[in-house]
């Protein structure tokens, strides 16, 4: 039993509530580091009884950093539940909005969340934030960054109705199309974000990849996890955000599964631990092997690095070039180095910007046909790649269109087992005997930031609708009760 516990409370520069407890042995070495998530709201519980068409607007309140992901996973689930495939214009507009979201979210992470650890140039607590970053990079860069995020959110507003929490997703399409002048605005936004993304890439190389601090983390094999990976790919096998096939690869890079994403939930199981409200999904077919990775452990990862591992390339030109650089640096794939997530995220940011630019120039986005007739309500699954990874929404509707069952599997939950291992790795490296400095504790937090966790997403509910077992221990660690669901 440990004698000493150090807490980081709350953990910061991520989405959601969390605390990390680090247990030290009698010599002051970290024995274990545990991430606890102390929040939950119960979306799957109160979604029951709601009208189906309200679900995109309800479930997006699971997360205000990635609401577009929930909104469209939900809308796609309804497209399926009502057997109503959207017309081309609606799909293009949805994808345009979706890429604007990926762009904005990844940009938020770089400058506000994970980035300040490297961009604020080794600063102390007071300066390790967006203010410190703007001071370091200068107000001109600061203004450009603020403008870029604004434009991405304006694009979301044009198509989705709001800058945050879009509302236009309906089963079978969108509630509203765009005008010719809105198309011009979108085209102008596309051009601007594309330009900015090239600046960002340059900045990232200069300030992050080239930095000693970051290099030491990214190139250090001790921060690797040889996990399975999951992501969506299009027909050509390229990294895809809005739609595609689901692909899972094993730690050696071989394909483990490729299937219709709606069948993906069937491959998963979740484990409950009594010390946190978040659960730990793993691949049922491989099995739970404790908090470790490898061919025999069903723990898998999702998100930017996972997507780049799963895909055979990027959809767009500039992103593809950068992708090849990353692969060259790591000598092929799968890339297991956790800190490479930050780089993968930048590559995706570039693809998102290129896609916004491409889609905004299509003539068909001002088309009049933006929704399809609905069939009878039934069951449906909608899957998208949220910024943080694969997101599933699964609904069962009764014949009047009321929700009987709603199940959401969110990416940060999928990453939670890997996250736990990475935090432990970070603690082991950061905390040397007797050294519990503020900087050391920040290095532990740096350990989770590659995952860009969204803990509000991860703890939206009590039970995720999968087969779960709950083990209850007494204070001596003895098993009292097991509850099967």
């Amino acid at each position: 039993m440990s004698t000493n516990k150090v807490s980081i409370d709350p953990i910061t520069r991520l989405e959601g509530h969390g605390k990390i407890d680090i247990f030290l042995d009698s010599e002051g070495n970290p024995e274990d580091a545990v991430l606890q998530v102390p929040e939950l709201r119960g979306f799957e519980e109160f979604s029951r009884g709601r009208r189906a068409e309200d679900m995109p607007r309800i479930t997006e309140r699971i997360c205000g950093v990635c609401p577009e992901a929930h909104h469209f996973a939900s809308t796609k689930a309804l497209d399926a539940a009502y057997s109503s495939p959207p017309p081309e214009t609606a799909l293009q507009l949805r994808e345009l909005l979706y890429n604007s979201y990926i762009f904005a979210d990844h940009l938020l992470h770089l400058f506000y969340l994970g980035g300040p650890d490297f961009l604020a140039n080794g600063a102390t607590k007071e300066k390790r934030n967006i203010v410190g970053v703007i001071n370091e990079l200068g107000e001109a860069v600061g203004k450009k960054l603020l403008a870029a995020r604004r434009k991405a959110h304006e694009a979301i507003e044009i198509i989705g109705g709001h800058q945050v929490h879009p509302v236009t997703g309906i089963p079978g399409g969108l509630s509203s199309g765009i005008t010719a002048s809105e198309k011009e605005e979108l085209a102008s936004i596309g051009k601007d974000v594309l330009d900015f993304s090239e600046d960002v890439l340059e900045l990232f190389h200069e300030k992050v990849i080239a930095s000693e601090d970051f290099g030491a983390l990214m190139n250090n094999a001790r921060f690797s996890l040889d996990s399975y990976y999951m992501g969506l790919i299009d027909e050509a096998g390229k990294v895809s955000f809005y739609d595609g096939d689901l692909r899972i690869i094993d730690p050696e890079g071989e394909e483990y599964a490729r299937l219709d994403p709606s069948e993906g939930i069937g491959l998963l199981e979740e484990r409950v631990e009594p010390w946190t409200y978040v659960k730990f999904p793993y691949l049922k077919g491989v099995g739970w092997d404790g908090f470790s990775t490898g061919m025999d452990s069903g723990i898998f990862r999702v998100g930017p690095l996972a997507r780049l591992n799963v895909g055979n390339g990027m959809k767009t030109k500039l992103a593809q070039k950068e992708y090849e650089k990353l692969l060259e640096h790591f000598d092929g794939k799968p890339v297991h180095q956790t800190y490479a997530y930050h780089w993968a995220r930048m590559i995706e940011l570039v693809q998102a910007a290129e896609r916004i630019d491409e889609l905004a120039r299509l003539d068909s986005i001002t088309g009049d046909e933006i929704s399809s007739e609905l069939g009878e309500p039934g069951e449906g699954v909608g899957v998208v790649e949220a910024a943080r990874g694969t997101l599933f929404h699964h609904y069962e509707l009764d014949q009047t269109g009321i929700v009987e069952m709603a199940n959401m599997i969110v990416p940060t939950t999928s990453n939670s087992a890997a996250l736990s291992i990475s935090i432990k790795q970070a603690a082991e490296e950061a905390i040397e005997v007797g050294e519990i400095s503020e900087e050391a504790l920040n290095r532990v937090e740096i350990g989770f930031r590659p995952y860009d966790p969204c803990l509000a997403c991860a703890t939206h509910s009590v039970d995720g609708g999968l087969d779960i077992g709950l083990s209850i221990y007494d204070d001596e660690g003895k098993l009292i009760e097991e509850i099967e669901k």
Binding site: K5, P38, R149, W275, G401
Partner: protein, 340 residues
Amino acid sequence: MDRVLIAMPKKEDKRKLAAYWASSCGGCDVGLLGLHERLLELIDFASIVFWPAATDFKYEDLRSYGDGEIDVTFFNGGIRTSENAEMAELLRRKSEVLVAYGSCAHLGGIPGLANLSERGTLFDTVYRENPTTKNPANTVPKQVSEGKFGELELPGVNEKVGALSDIVPVDYSVPGCPPPPEITEDFLDLLLENDLPETGSVIAGGKTVCDECDREWNQEAIEELKPPGDVNIDPDECLLDQGIICLGPATRSGCDASCPSVNRPCRGCFGPPEGVEDQGAEMLNSLASILQIGEEGTGLEQERELLGALPDPLGTFYSFALPVSIFGGRVEDGGTNEHE
């Protein structure tokens, strides 16, 4: 409350600002960033001394500040756990001006729908009866577990979701889910000018969404309610006229009717209009008044049938403001009731 603020006290040094999320989705933190380039003005106006989303200050830093040392705190998220309630009290003490920012802090928000749960709390069957819970009084239990590594604690989940004002007095409410950029900017301007409105004010309009909506209302009675998926929505006509339930009449103005502008009905995120206590009841009244099948009085039976069968009245009328409504959530009635 007795406090009357007209301005923040004069200060020599730069002002101090905090932002916190209770039971939140993070959308209001993104909402604050909706100031975009004007964020530079905010940063100029105050140093941020606590904001878990964006800065590294920890709870121990917050506790070390003096009472009232923080000039303004933007508090978002509802009160769901014991930790949320503790933070509300702590931030009230440490802040000169406490702002309920966004629908959850203002009204309870969408997570407030959990108050409809029959089981009272979401955890009752799984976590509250957990034998490792150490708190003997069992009021708001902290979850304590011990495994191989040591003792770990989690905050307890309260019976019901509440708004910020259920726990502490709130100086101002900035409504919206999240507050749109214009509304946030309005409040920023008040801070920059240090000219604060009456304590207890809601920083938005004094009318209803209908007032701002461009759609034409023909004062027709609604003859039928449209089922979902009817794709032929007239972009110019009032949604209620078209048989789509829109909460415009029962919702505070200030958003420029952004949802009706994209053919989506208002769901009431700004909360009830000035002077109205229960947004859902207000909408219920309005809807019943304007629904009319055939000549007045002749469609009585069908009207009652239609209204008695309206799907999900609670979800429709109380999406955002259930916790601050008259009942606040599910009602326990011991009277003979075949309902579930």
